[in-house]
């Protein structure tokens, strides 16, 4: 609690010193942590479509995570208000390169704001609806489609348009698999000991599948851009393999995918809660590093105060999210427990009767 307040105070100091650096730091932090609730929304949607014991018994967990979507949407208001400091395409048209000028039909402020309101409506609505005790089954499929569409355009708007010359089709899908994998990692980190071993290994298998899905998407993007070697696209990777970003990118890949992949190979270890928690923690560190690697190189200027502002924003947004999440989780846990107890009482009453 105190740490969060201190971090928020540091962020306010950042506003006073340099508004642009503060906005950059806040955007990176919000996107880094915002992937987690968005991923949890998808987990709930998938379970709504497929059913299965793994989701019936871990539902409360994903619901608690998904309920923090609203905090993420609130935090996104800050960069939305400050977009003229963040987005290079908001500069006067004459100063923009030609490729970007052709994109201005899409990348302009009014349309950008409308799109963001739509994302907020879709995700906020889905998160609210999925946290209700009962859902109508038929709405999961349209919900999942809307979620995917919103994520694709969200990726275009908040990740790719930071470098408006860059374009990649698969970017949205990569972000989606990233979000779901990280959300599942956080869920396992928080609640692995409370689940039955069979459920735990089911979720771990789904998680491994999702991680491999991310690897597939990320690699498709890399190999297409690397083979084509076109200036606008390869620049995105060149920016991220120069200087200290190169080792950071490698480390993020190792922690996010490679180490968890090896740790999840054994099916008997997947049933052990402590093992899964360690794996999930490693993966989440990788997630945070990977998001920094993906976002920071997009800002061409690198002011010195980012060294303290970036971590402070990460702690502030992450801390707020954690406080929100732990409250939601404890109420959900209590409700889950009492439901189980009443369920059992009814069962026993029926047996006695």
């Amino acid at each position: 609690m105190i740490i969060v307040i201190v971090a928020l105070a540091v962020c306010l100091l950042g506003v006073a010193i340099d508004l642009r650096s503060f906005l950059q730091a806040w955007l990176v932090a919000t996107l880094t942590w915002g992937m987690l609730p968005l991923g949890a929304v998808a987990v709930l949607l998938i379970h709504g479509l497929t059913g299965g014991a793994w989701g019936n018994e871990s539902r409360y967990l994903w619901q608690a995570l998904a309920s923090t979507t609203h905090l993420f949407l609130l935090a996104m208001l800050v960069p939305l208000l400050g977009m003229s400091w963040l987005m290079p395409w908001t500069a006067p048209v004459e100063t923009l390169p030609e490729v970007v000028r052709h994109k201005l039909l899409y990348l302009n402020m009014p349309f950008f704001v409308i799109r963001n309101l739509l994302y907020a409506l879709i995700w906020g609505g889905l998160a609210w609806w999925l946290c209700q005790p009962r859902q109508h089954r038929r709405a999961h499929a349209p919900g999942a489609i809307l979620w995917v569409l919103a994520f694709t355009f969200f990726g275009f708007d908040w990740f790719m348009s930071l470098e408006p010359k860059f374009y990649s089709d698969v970017f949205g899908l990569e972000l989606m698999t990233l979000a779901v994998s990280s959300a599942m990692a956080l869920g396992l980190l928080l609640c692995a000991p409370m689940l039955r071993p069979a459920i735990r290994s089911d979720i771990a298998n789904l998680w491994l599948g999702m991680l491999l899905g991310w690897a597939f998407m990320a690699f498709s993007q890399l190999i297409i851009i690397w083979s084509g070697n076109m200036p606008h696209e390869i620049g995105w990777y060149l920016q991220r393999t120069s200087g200290s970003w190169r080792p950071i990118g490698r480390l993020a890949f190792a922690l996010f995918l490679f180490v968890p992949f090896l740790m999840l190979l054994s099916s008997s270890l997947k049933r052990r809660a402590s093992w899964l928690q360690v794996t999930a923690a490693i993966c989440l560190v990788g997630h945070v590093l990977h998001m920094q690697w993906m976002l920071w190189p997009a800002f061409s200027k690198w002011p010195a105060n980012q060294a303290w502002l970036g971590p402070a924003a990460l702690i502030a947004v992450g801390g707020l999210g954690y406080l929100w999440l732990s409250r939601a989780l404890s109420t959900n846990l209590n409700r889950n427990l009492s439901e189980n107890l009443t369920g059992r009482a009814i069962e026993q009453g029926g047996r006695h009767g």
Partner: protein, 181 residues
């Protein structure tokens, strides 16, 4: 001339049970008695039998993993050798050893190797193909694919036969037959 299969003491007991519950209960009893050489036949997969038999698929993942690693290394080496050593050819100004281009082939071969390794290890572990099995000697064994649950019990000492039959009756076996091993 006597059939060598009917030699003295080389006999197994085949017990028939009526239900999956009776089968599981009998397996628990037999395991508690210390019998380890048990084989089970049922019309459908009965949940819990593998655990009761203390079955562990030890070799399947190891064979699968070993084959995968071998194939991945071989596949990578094949591409590296052909692109760098045997036929060096610059494509698109890229270095001869362009690893991103080698990855898709290696991943596909690795997946194939993992699946083939698992299937081969599974078949070998089940001692298949097996054209003859002692249980085929019993007339009623055909019901194993219909409505009956069988346990095949191998034992070393023929003196035990009487005692074992009694024990199986105790465990609600409906029918007990001796089959040559």
């Amino acid at each position: 001339m006597a059939d060598p299969r009917h030699a003295a003491s080389a006999v197994s007991l085949l017990a028939r049970f009526d239900s999956a519950e009776a089968l599981l209960a009998a397996l628990t009893g037999l395991r508690a008695d210390g019998h380890r050489r048990l084989e089970v036949f049922s019309p459908y997969p009965v949940a819990g039998v593998a655990e009761k038999l203390a079955f562990r698929p030890r070799w399947v993942p190891i064979v699968s993993l070993a084959l995968t690693i071998g194939v991945v290394i071989a596949g990578y080496y094949m591409q590296w050798y052909s692109a760098v050593v045997d036929y060096p050819y610059v494509v698109g100004g890229k270095p001869l050893h362009s690893w991103p281009a080698f990855i898709p082939v290696v991943v596909a071969l690795g997946l194939l190797a993992a699946v083939i390794g698992a299937v081969v290890a599974m078949i070998a572990g089940n001692r298949l193909p097996q054209p003859y099995h002692p249980a085929f000697e019993a007339e009623s064994f055909l019901r194993a694919s219909d409505d009956a649950f069988f346990v095949l019990l191998s034992f070393e000492n023929s003196d035990d036969r009487q005692r074992l039959s009694e024990r199986l009756r105790e465990l609600h076996a409906q029918e007990i037959q001796e089959v040559p091993r």
